[in-house]
Amino acid sequence: MSPPLLQVNDLKKHFPINKGLFGRQTEFVYAVDGVSFEIARGETLSLVGESGCGKSTVGRAILRLFEITSGQVILDGQRIDDAHPSTMRQMRRRVQVVFQDPFSSLNPRMRVRDILAEPIRNFGLAKSKEDLEVRVTELMDTVRLPREALNRRPHEFSGGQRQRIGIARALAAEPELIVCDEAVSALDVSVKAQVVNLLQDLQQKFGLALLFISHDLAIVEHMTHRVAVMYLGKIVEVAPRREIFAAPRHPYTKALLSAVPLPEPGAQRNPIILGGDVPSPINPPKGCRFHTRCPYVFDRCRTEEPTLRAAGDEQWVACHLDALPTR
C-alpha cells in the first residue's frame, strides 16, 4: 500500500493564556491534545465534534497557520510541521483551504480575476500571460460561475457564489488536499446542496483528498469516506462512514448522532440527551474527558484515560467500556 497523503502523529496544540501581572503564562488551552490520523489520496476524512472540540485547530495546524506544540504533520512522506520556509512554500501549494465564511475570507478590494490569479502567480504555475488567462477562465467553468464574473468584486456575489470563488481559489494552486473548514455551514439549504455536489464532483475529477471539518452530521454522512469524532481535543472514535453511522461504539458518538433532529415528523427516535455542557479545554477532566457527561461512566473512567484501540477492521474507539470482555 502506498503511504498516505497526509499523516498526523500525536498532534498537540496548547494555546497559552496570559494571566496575572506582566502577562506571566500560568495556564494553557489544551485545544488539541494528542491527535493522530491519516488521509489517503482522493479520500474524504471528516472531523466532527461540537464547538471547542479542536477540529478547526487541527485543520489550521495542518495548514501550518501556526506552529504546533508537539507532534508531526507528514505530507507525502515529508514532515511539514518543522519544514524550512523555502520547502514549506512548495508544500503549501499542495494543501489548500476553504473557510466557513465567504464574506470575510475573500479580499473585498480584489476582482475575482486577481483573487484567482494570485495563487497561480505565487506558485509559478502559469507559463505565460495567455496561460494564466486560460487557467483563470477554466477555474470559473469548473466551479460553474459565468466567465463574465471575473471582473467583478466579491460583494457583488451571493454567499453560495462567493463560496464557489473560495473553492476556485483553492483549486488554482492545483492542490492534493483541501481542508474544508465548515465550508458549507453558513450556506442556505438549497445553496448548500449545490456546493456539496460541486465538492464531490471536484474530488472525482481531480482525485482530491478532503479534510472535511463540520458539525453537520447529515452532510458529513453524505460526503465522507471516513469520520473522526473529536471531543475536547481528542479523537474518541475513527471509523469508515458505514461503521460510524450504523454501529457507533463510543457513547459520545452515539449521543451526537441521536441528537440530530430528523426531517421526518413523528419519526421514532430516542435521543440520548447528554446532561451539562462541554467542560472547558483549559482544565479538561481527568481520566476520560467525556466522563462528566457520559451516561455509562464507571470508576475507571474517572482516573484512567482510555486510548484509541481497534474495535473492528478500521474502527478505533477510545472507551473503557469498549475494552470490557463482555463486548
Binding site: 461540537e50 433532529p261 415528523p265
Partner: protein
Amino acid sequence: MALLEVENLQTHFRTPGGINRAVDGVSFHVNEGETLAIVGESGCGKSVTSMSLMRLVPEPPGRIAGRIRFAGKDLLKLSDREMRAIRGNDISMIFQEPMTSLNPVLTVGRQIRETLMIHQGLDKQAAETHAIEMLTLVGIPEPKRRVREYPHQLSGGMRQRVMIAIALACNPKLLIADEPTTALDVTIQAQILKLMLDLKRRVGAAIILITHDLGVVAEIAERVMVMYAGRKVEEAPVAELFRSPRHPYTQGLLGAVPRLGSSLAGTATRLAEIPGQVPDLRKPITGCVFAGRCALATDLCRQYAPGLEEKGPRHIAACHYAAKGAVAA
C-alpha cells in the same frame, strides 16, 4: 378562535436601490397553544415577519401594512405605549444569539426581574423569588447562585435557557422563537428542544418557530408555513407537508437536505439542487416568485402570480401546477 390572525402583511423597506418588499402580502393564523413553524432560507422574510408582529421593525425606513389581530386587538393600530404593554408580556420572543440579546452588564436575575416588575407589578422580593423559580423551570442547576451571575459566566446553552426563562416569565400567550437553536451545538440543541416541548405542555403558550432547519421543524411544529421571497408559498400540517409537499420550492428544499442514515439505507444519492438564486426583492416581480428557479415554470407562471389554492386537507400552496389531492413529484 385564532389567537393571532395576520392578514395581508406587507413590510417594505425604503432602500437606495428601491423599495425592498421583504414581506409581501402574507396571511396566516396561529391558534391558542399551537406551534406554527415558518420555514425558508435567508432573505425569505421569515424574521421580518416576526419582527413585524412585535412591531420591532424601525419605521422609517420600514413600513408595515395589513392587519395583525392578536386576542381581538389590531396590533398595528395600538399606540407605542399600548404595544409596550404587550411585548414581553402577552407576546414574547427568543432570539438566535443569546449573547447579544442579553445585557452583558446586568445579572441574569435582574434581567428576569425587570420584565416581572414592569408587566406584573411585582416588588423586588417577589420578582426575585419568581426569577429563581423560572431558572429552576428551565433546568438551570443552582438557580439561587445563577441569578446573581452575569451572562458571560454562562455557556451558550445556559444563556438560551435564561432567554427562555425571561420570555416565559410573564406567561405569554404567544412565544416567537427566531432560530432558537441555530447557534447551539447538536447535543445542546437537543436539550433546548426537549425543554421547549416540555414547557409548551406545561405553560400552554402558542409558539411561532422561525427556522431554516427542517429537522427542528419535524421535531416540534404542528403546522408549517413555507416562505419564499417575501411570500407564503405553502402551508400544511407538519406530517402532510413532509409526506406530500406540493410546491416545487418545498419539494426542492426537502430534496436538498441529506438524511442521517441514508448511506446505510443505500439511498444516498446526489443532493437535489435548486438552481439559481433568490430574486432581488427591490424589483417588482410579475408572476410566480419562484418561476426563475422552477423546473416546471411556463409562460403562465412568468405572467400570472398563482394564488394560494387548497391542494389537500388544510393544505394550501401557491402554484399553478401543483397537483390537487394526489402526491406530486
